[in-house]
Amino acid sequence: MSRSCTPQIRRYAKESPRASILALLILGLFCLPAFGTLLRPLSVETLADLSDVVARGRVDSVEVVWNDSATMPVTRVEVEVLETLEGNAGGRRLIVTVPGGERDGIALDYGGRPRFSPGEEVVLFLQRRGGRGFIPVGLAQGRLEVHREAATGRALLRRDLAGAVLMERDERGDEGPVAAGPADLEALRQRLRARSRPPRPAQP
């Protein structure tokens, strides 16, 4: 499944001895820098409208592989489903793919790229892309971290925008202030229950 380098980098390798050496290097996954992206805050209701499945789960594994044409590193995340908040996850395990990551000495990054670590608990807003595969909706806005409050066990939600930034209100007040998301899991459940789910517009 995974390839050693992209066609572009292969071509580069042909013409550059440095890149030939580089193509031999295999590195493990580690966190990568973010690049700028300007994001409009999406409410959980909007995120849910754009999603096929909203699920809480635990990240089992994270691996960076090449896409089918070996032209993009893709992060493949396996998630054990702990709770389906909306939609039909279709089983106990989900495969979520996210363009970006580092493989074989080449990395793709962009602001707002959702990042995952094995063992973490997350709430995901997901769009089905063939078979059992899903992609996050709205870049990093489609991923909420779940943290347990030590004293009470309350499940708090936190959003990491991975270098992306929610937009300001402009001089004419066109943008609202940064939207406050639900503070905890129970509040998220209530907000999802309270909304009437409209038909989701088709996306190819």
Binding site: T6, P7, Q8, R11, Y12, E15, R18, A19, I21, L22, L25, L27, F30, C31, L32, P33, A34, F35, G36, T37, L38, R40, P41, L42, L50, N67, D68, S69, T71, T97, V98, P99, E102, G105, I106, A107, D109, Y110, G111, P136, V137, G138, L139, D160, A162, G163, A164, V165, M167, E168, R169, D170, E171, R172, G173, D174, E175, V178, Q203, P204
Partner: protein, 570 residues
């Protein structure tokens, strides 16, 4: 149709001494653990074929552009943004437009496309599996950048792609007339900054500041901080010799990781910023020779509304030390071709004050605001925890501003203070700090208020006309600035300023509104361009444009129309 050489002036300056490496601004880094910057390799021997050709980075525009614009101005606006980055003297980076595309992806495929996604926020790549699909819902635009993380090409950018979201946002090339739409040129300028290797800047007036609002076009030009970052990554031949560097250690009880360090020039304008690394080292490069004042302060707390916080930066900048007090100013003399060492010591303990929002009364945001020369009685203010509810807790750096009143209140749950400001007609242009003080602390919105020319008004008017040739252009060095003035017989709406050697004039970026019959532009010295080398003559060219952006560089001595960026007046 044309005319314009408003005039040509000549400035010759001498000097030169060798200089050390350049470090400043906040470049994107190779990884969370590797702070090395990432750049395009512009040398033919190692450049990636297909994107870097003849030392220039080739971008390609999707010919469909934006669905919101059907007259081709969308593609022109994107190209203008690339030209603005091209126009920076003292930088070796040059972009060139390749053949347009009829399809685009974000793959590493040897092409650097700029395109709009329309119809769906899911970017598909045309490959067999949907694994590489990405849903950019909510994003205004995204720069996808590929880089090498190991080996001899470590740190090289090898592919880039910029996607605009045409599904959820409306776009314009005229945000003045369509204020609810997003300005293509401004957003393109920002994303190109990422595609060349820059991370976000904490300087609110910088193009690389992370936020933009609909209807704004103030970011169509680059700030001195953006230029310092570009020159740090791609220094031109004369850049090291013409500019100054200040470096040092930021320490409290121990080295401070992630402290914001910046320099103000003698007019109180932000010259450049840097951040202290994990060993407390900071470097401010590209400084104009002369006196500057250094400051340091912690980044804002994570979460909630803030001007700039950890999440605005790449993952190298995580776990930053916020547990220290902002410094007062330390005066340093920046010297050409020389690194001046100046350590900064801070007091430990959390800052008792922070700035979260600023702006004109009633329009606060966590972004920059502006004042125009000649404005009187404008209420501007700031809000944040720890701001006193009495006294005079706000100040703007630099001359030309008069404060005549105060009020206090609450904005978004934070205490706020407003001051009534009048701006002198000759107030130095550029980004100033808005400084908040309390009994025990100080914090600045770095570059939070930009002083601009007065707004132009009225219809576009005719394209400035006139014969080729020169009109007298007076060039005078006044302190750190260079003043240009000329007789504005044509009453043009705006002027563009060009600078460089004969045969390689480059735009200095931004339109300058007419100030009166006798036109005048104050160029803040080396913060905008490289000074000439020893024995070398540099020229200024002022070209006139109308409010619709129509104009030209005028004709040469043979009466032939000059092309933008090509030749100077003979």
């Amino acid at each position: 149709m044309n005319r314009p050489c408003g005039g040509l002036g000549r400035l010759t300056l001498l000097l030169l001494v060798p200089l050390a490496d350049l470090r400043a601004a906040t470049p994107s880094t190779v990884s969370a653990t590797d702070p090395a910057p990432i750049t395009w390799n512009l040398t033919a021997a190692s450049a990636v074929p297909g994107i870097v050709e003849d030392g220039q980075v080739v971008f390609r525009l999707h010919d469909a552009g934006s669905d919101d614009i059907d007259d081709g101005r969308d593609l022109e606006a994107v190209e203008n943004a690339f030209r603005t980055w091209n126009g920076v003297t003292g930088s070796a980076l040059r972009f060139t437009r390749g053949a347009d595309l009829s399809a685009a992806t974000v793959l590493a495929d040897g092409e650097f496309p700029v395109f709009w996604t329309e119809g769906s926020t899911v970017l598909t790549q045309g490959t067999a599996s949907p694994d590489d699909d990405v849903n950019i819902a909510g994003a205004l635009a995204v720069a996808f950048v590929y880089r090498m993380t190991s080996g001899p090409a470590h740190g090289e950018i090898v592919d880039a792609n910029i996607a605009f979201n045409g599904v959820e946002y409306s776009w314009t090339t005229d945000p003045g007339a369509q204020p609810t739409r997003y300005d293509i040129e401004s957003v393109a300028l920002h994303e190109i900054g990422h595609a060349l290797g820059l991370d976000h800047s904490p300087v609110a007036a910088a193009t690389l500041f992370p936020r933009v609002g609909a209807g704004r076009s103030l970011s169509r030009s680059l700030s001195s901080d953006d230029l310092a970052g570009l020159r740090r990554l791609y220094p031109g031949d004369n850049t090291p010799a013409n500019r100054g560097i200040v470096s040092g250690l930021l320490t409290g009880d121990a080295p401070i990781f992630g402290g914001l360090v910046w320099a103000l020039d003698s007019a109180g304008r932000v010259a450049a910023h840097g951040m202290s690394d994990s060993e407390g080292r900071f470097t401010l490069a590209g400084l104009p020779p002369g006196p500057v004042t250094l400051y340091a302060q912690p980044i804002s707390a994570a979460g909630g509304i803030a001007l700039f916080q950890e999440a605005n930066l790449g993952p190298y900048w995580r776990g930053l030390n916020r547990d220290f007090q902002a410094t007062s100013g330390v005066a340093v003399e920046a010297q050409r071709g020389t690194t001046v060492v100046q350590d900064l010591e801070v007091s430990p303990g959390p800052s008792p004050i922070d700035v979260r929002l600023l702006g004109r009364a009633g329009t606060y945001s966590n972004g920059p605001t502006f004042l125009r020369r000649g404005e009187t009685g404008v209420w501007i203010g700031a809000a944040g925890p720890g701001l006193p509810a009495s006294g005079t807790p706000l100040a703007l750096t630099g001359p030309g501003l008069t404060i005549t009143g105060w009020s206090f209140g609450t904005v978004a749950g934070f205490p706020s203070a407003q001051m009534r400001v009048s701006v002198a007609a000759d107030a130095p242009l550029g980004p100033r700090d808005l400084v908040l003080t309390s009994a025990g602390g100080r914090i600045a919105a770095i570059g939070g208020v930009e002083i601009l020319f007065p707004a132009s008004s009225g219809p576009p008017g005719p394209v400035p006309a006139g014969g080729p040739g020169s009109r007298p252009l007076a060039v005078e060095q006044v302190g750190p600035a260079i003043d240009l003035s000329w007789d504005d017989t044509d009453r043009a709406t705006a002027y563009r300023l060009w600078h460089g050697t004969l045969g390689s004039l480059r735009a200095l970026g931004g339109d300058h509104a007419v100030e009166g019959r006798l036109c005048h532009i104050s160029v803040p010295d080396a913060s905008l361009f490289d000074l000439p080398g020893a024995g070398e003559s540099h020229y200024f060219l002022v070209s006139a444009w109308n409010a619709a952006g129509e104009g030209s560089l005028g004709g040469d001595s043979a009466g032939t129309e000059r092309l933008a960026g090509a030749q100077a007046c003979p």
